[in-house]
Amino acid sequence: MNILSPEWTAVLYLIAAVCFILALKGLSSPKGARRGNLIGAAGALIAVATVFLSTRFENVPLILAAIAIGSAVAVPIARRVQMTQMPQLVAGFNGVGGGAAALVAVLELAHAEDPWIRLAIVFTMVIGAVSFAGSTVTVGKLQEVISTRPLIFPGMRWVMSIVVIATLVTSGFVIATGAWEWAIAVLLIGLVAGLLLVLPVGGADVPIVISLLNAFTGLAVAASGVVLGNILLVVAGTLVGASGTILTKAMASAMGRSVAGIIFGAFRGGSTAGSTEQSDRPVKSATTADVAVQLGYAQNVIIVPGYGLAVAQGQHTIAELATSLEARGVTVSFGIHPVAGRMPGHMNVLLAEANVPYESLKELEEINAEFKNADVVLVVGANDVVNPAAKTSPGSPIYGMPILEVGQAQQVVFLKRSMRPGFAGIENELLFDPKTTLLFGDAKDSLTQVLGAVKAL
């Protein structure tokens, strides 16, 4: 249809772009977050309606059918996915978006006479393909279909160099000739590059890579906007690219890592793998009854949940434990490290799902001021984020990472699977501290037993 004039089309695209800005703005604060997301969805609806009304189209029924299929597949998954599987889902949606951008770019090649436009096409194809392949690998790693340990093979550095050169050469041919065959080659090499980029990344760094690939897809969408001469795609893609970059940096620094270190660390033979050696130094272990007494007769308890809790899916049990402690008059708060869970901010989502009040979830800086007033700190499935080595030993791989200073509390209880060091592969001195006791076992099982014992007090 040709109902809308170019001027009205531009105005409606501008409104959609403003909606996206308001969406990102809203998502930055808990108050306006949900409304912000709905404004973003409204913007998307306006944009899609505008494109149908502003251009004379072929194949409208087929396109509507394709939209129906996409929605019919995505909505039930989005509705039903477990909150613990959120990182996989975000990575998956990101991958298909990158794939779509790459396909759009290939199809526009036939219309592109200008070499600058062909450059934008090649950029979109490469970044889109990297994002698609990379996201697929992250989904595999998060589902543990692919090993979460960094996958490296001898000579990988050389293979990567060859892939980079091949990308540049084939891209050059596409820009010079605009030929289909070369474009297909660029796409295939882009897919290989995506695999090689993400396979060497270790399990706990995967979330940072998801965020980075999210920013990549944003850039690919922006470049496709340049190709199609569509200003909305340029603005929306650039917004996501820029905000995604900031977010990636923020997450990486919360882990005390640099983005380059995460991506290239494994290539350099860095220690992202961590050691798996067990220490045989003596520790004080406790029984569930001991822990229940410590918690039940305390005044002020801080719970520090970590990756292990998310893996064991113990978020509901820990929320129940907090409720029954509060019923006994104990003040309970949660100290959440920015990277606790399986992706940054994930622990907040998991605890929110378990109905823990938002006000009880305290951020790093806020809770660090409160540890000295805590009678007991209960650390569940966390290790590196409470390891004092981050402050005290400059040689340590996690040195400089902001930590939760649980050592300031009167007593510390660790619920741990084993004495294996955490992801960073360094011993935690706090485990050997006289005021620390340990309860070994699966986080959820231990919590269930402690909960039962607290109720019996």
């Binding site: 969406a23 990102l24 703005k25 930055s28 808990p30 977050a33 949900r34 997301n37 998307a44 494109v51 251009t55 072929e58 194949n59 409208v60 087929l62 396109i63 394709a66 939209i67 299929i69 996409g70 929605s71 995505a74 998954i77 989005a78 909150m83 959120m86 949606f93 990101n94 298909v96 978006g97 779509a100 951008a101 396909l103 759009v104 199809l107 036939a110 999210n214 969408v221 496709s224 906007g225 340049v226 569509n230 909305l232 795609l233 996501v240 690219g241 820029a242 970059t245 900031i246 977010l247 923020a250 920015p338 992706m343 940054p344 901010g345 907040n348 989502v349 929110a352 009040p357 938002y358």
Partner: protein
């Protein structure tokens, strides 16, 4: 669109993108990532444009695949973000009576 306009738009969008997320609380990192992820699903507009311009069966098929993928990104992204944020908000309403009980 001439190159100068394009450059202006891109540079301004970069600054807006930096600015809007610079103060985000780490509590909301996951929904923010998911929301930003949904926004780039707007590539659907691009996919619709290329699908609407071709009559060649192979090209049309590829374009329609792009429409399906982009829709999944856009619609799925907004739905799942809403689901997460609903929990953040809904809990407050439930939390109030609980606090009342203990007080």
């Amino acid at each position: 669109m001439d190159a100068a306009t394009l450059l202006t738009v891109i540079v301004l969008a970069v600054f807006v993108g930096f600015e809007v997320v610079s103060k985000v609380t780490s509590k909301l990192h996951t929904p923010l990532m998911s929301g930003a992820n949904a926004i780039h699903g707007i590539i659907l507009v691009g996919a619709i444009i290329v699908a609407g311009q071709t009559t060649e069966p192979l090209l049309l098929t590829v374009a329609l695949i792009a429409v399906v993928l982009a829709t999944a990104n856009l619609v799925g992204g907004f739905v799942v973000t809403d689901r997460m944020l609903e929990m953040f908000r809904g809990r407050k309403a439930k939390a109030t009576p609980t606090n009342g009980d203990t007080a």
